[in-house]
């Protein structure tokens, strides 16, 4: 039974990858690989169409990097607080709340971003629009916090108590113990949490579609509208006629996205067992 489940998920994975490549590769009859990856213009419906995905790739990377800038410190702080500083009763209250945050549909985050954060960002920085890479990074960063927190909390609580005891017995304070014994022992798990967060952010579609502004141009600043790979696929899939170069190009964007997440997953896989081995 378990074998069947495992087998069917493998089957789906292979199926998806095959479809991505079968539907994506034909676009390279119309555009070379380097034009696709490094072209600066994404005008799939002009004639002749232009399939330069660089603005979208950079948009995704900018939003992901920016999102991590918010998510990592917040997640680290909250994870450390939950695992090390918070009394058990506080933890019992906080953990379900954080899990609830993870369960809020992304469209709600997007809505919140459009209605609250974007106008605030616009007025604060006197921009022409508040729908920017910065706004998207902020919202997506917040969305990634719960998963980062829970992985960090798990890693920290699985650090053997004997390390803590050894450190305290040497006259270390709580803070020194955290910094010199616990965090180093948990470093690979923390790395895994960050990579996991990056995967969350880069794959996010709905919220980023709503708040990033949607301009497929090479971002020159953090405070201008951008378009990500995911948002492009979501928006344009409806209007691209099946079998057209445009249609195939969207699958190629999905291949790029897939490769990004694949790399992130490989990173996580290599971080977590390494962590176990080192931490023991």
């Amino acid at each position: 039974m378990l074998f069947l489940v495992a087998f069917s998920s493998l089957f789906f994975l292979i199926g998806i990858v095959v479809i991505l490549f079968v539907e994506g590769l034909p676009v390279f009859a119309h555009v070379s690989l380097s034009q696709f990856l490094f072209g600066k213009r994404w005008y799939p419906t002009s004639s002749p169409p232009q399939f330069g995905a660089l603005p979208l790739i950079l948009g995704s990377l900018l939003v992901t990097g920016g999102g991590l800038l918010f998510a990592v410190p917040l997640g680290l702080f909250a994870g450390i607080f939950l695992a090390e500083l918070c009394p058990p009763r506080g933890r019992e209250v906080m953990k379900p709340i954080i899990e609830l945050l993870a369960d809020i549909p992304s469209v709600v985050y997007g809505f919140f971003g459009v209605v609250v954060i974007a106008p605030f960002v616009r007025d604060l920085l006197s921009l022409s629009t508040g729908l920017t890479a910065f706004t998207a990074a902020l919202i997506l960063g917040i969305m990634a916090v719960p998963s980062i927190v829970s992985v960090i909390e798990d890693t920290l609580t699985s650090v053997p108590r004997s390390y803590k005891e050894a450190s305290f017995a040497l006259g270390a304070t709580h803070w020194e113990t955290l910094r010199r014994a616990i965090l180093p022992a948990a470093s690979s798990g923390i790395g895994a949490a960050i990579v996991l967060g990056a995967g969350r952010i880069i794959g996010e579609t709905m919220a980023v579609l709503m708040v990033a502004g949607g301009a497929p141009v090479i971002p020159k600043s953090f405070f201008q509208p951008v378009r990500t790979l995911t948002a492009t696929i979501a928006v344009e899939m409806g209007e691209a006629s099946v079998g057209s170069p445009h249609y195939h190009s969207l699958f190629s964007l999905a291949i790029v996205l897939f490769l990004f997440t694949l790399v992130l997953n490989i990173l996580v896989e290599n971080l977590i067992p390494g962590g176990r081995r080192r931490v023991r």
Partner: protein, 252 residues
């Protein structure tokens, strides 16, 4: 009369409702090994951990009485347990090196205490490894992981780590119980060699170990101190019936 390093006076320790130690009074002589023996669960570890305030971490723990160290009660108001622990080191039952190199394990306490000078740290690390009789075995691999050492070597590393910060008292909770006989013999030998500089309190439930390594022995039973005296006297002419029963293996 010998110098007294630590004076335990009418010590009661509670975990929640449960009283684990009852009215313990005990003088620990300086530069000697004092063994604490007794059956499992009698409170040996609790007594040891009360001395350097390692029990503070348990919720619901309560202490009554005094432990006078250097003229001052370690439980007096305003005493920083961190400072107490810097002066009273501890070695645990299971070797517990950090997932760091051999060198960094020994240097840990020094860095905590603010040592910055590389040369001085290095010298102290070497000196401590030598004192812990580990130097010859690790001098060629100071920067490999402490986990690559055998259990006995790890325990001596933990002893080196504890003495690197030059505490005055060393508390050892069954330091040899996880080791094989040869490693045990080395640790016991090491303990004897340390008394020149340190006062040692050694918890053990191995009678031979207590007899071999200690100068004084305290026998605990159900949280009470039954008998305390020079080791050879406790082992040859115990004053209390309970001690005799325990030593002759009638319980425990």
């Amino acid at each position: 009369m010998e110098e007294i390093k630590l004076q335990i006076k009418d010590l009661n320790v509670f975990f929640g409702e449960k009283q684990v130690l009852h009215q313990i009074s005990l003088n620990i002589p300086a530069n000697k090994v004092t063994a604490i023996i007794g059956p499992s669960g009698c409170g040996k570890s609790t007594l040891l951990r009360s001395i350097n305030r390692m029990n503070d971490f348990f919720e619901g723990m309560k202490v009554e009485g005094e432990i006078i160290f250097d003229g001052k009660n370690v439980y007096a108001e305003g005493v920083d347990p961190v400072i107490v622990r810097r002066r009273i080191g501890m070695v645990f039952q299971m070797p517990n090196p950090f997932p760091k190199s051999i060198f960094e394990n020994v240097a840990y306490g020094l860095r905590i205490q603010g040592w910055r000078n590389k040369k001085a740290i290095e010298e102290q690390v070497i000196k401590s490894l030598q004192a812990a009789a580990l130097w010859d075995e690790v001098k060629d691999r100071l920067y490999s992981s402490a986990f690559d050492l055998s259990g006995g070597q790890q325990q001596r590393l933990c002893i080196a780590r504890a003495i690197a910060v030059e505490p005055e008292i060393l508390l050892m909770d069954e330091p040899a119980s996880a080791l094989d006989p040869i490693a045990t013999a080395r640790v016991e030998e090491l303990i004897r060699s340390l008394i020149e500089k340190y006062t040692i309190v050694l918890v053990t439930h191995n009678m031979q170990e207590a007899a071999r390594s200690s100068d004084y022995t305290a026998f605990l039973l159900l949280g009470r101190l039954i008998e305390f005296g020079p080791t050879n006297q406790i082992f040859t002419k115990p004053q209390k019936k309970e001690t005799e029963d325990y030593l002759t293996g009638r319980f425990g």
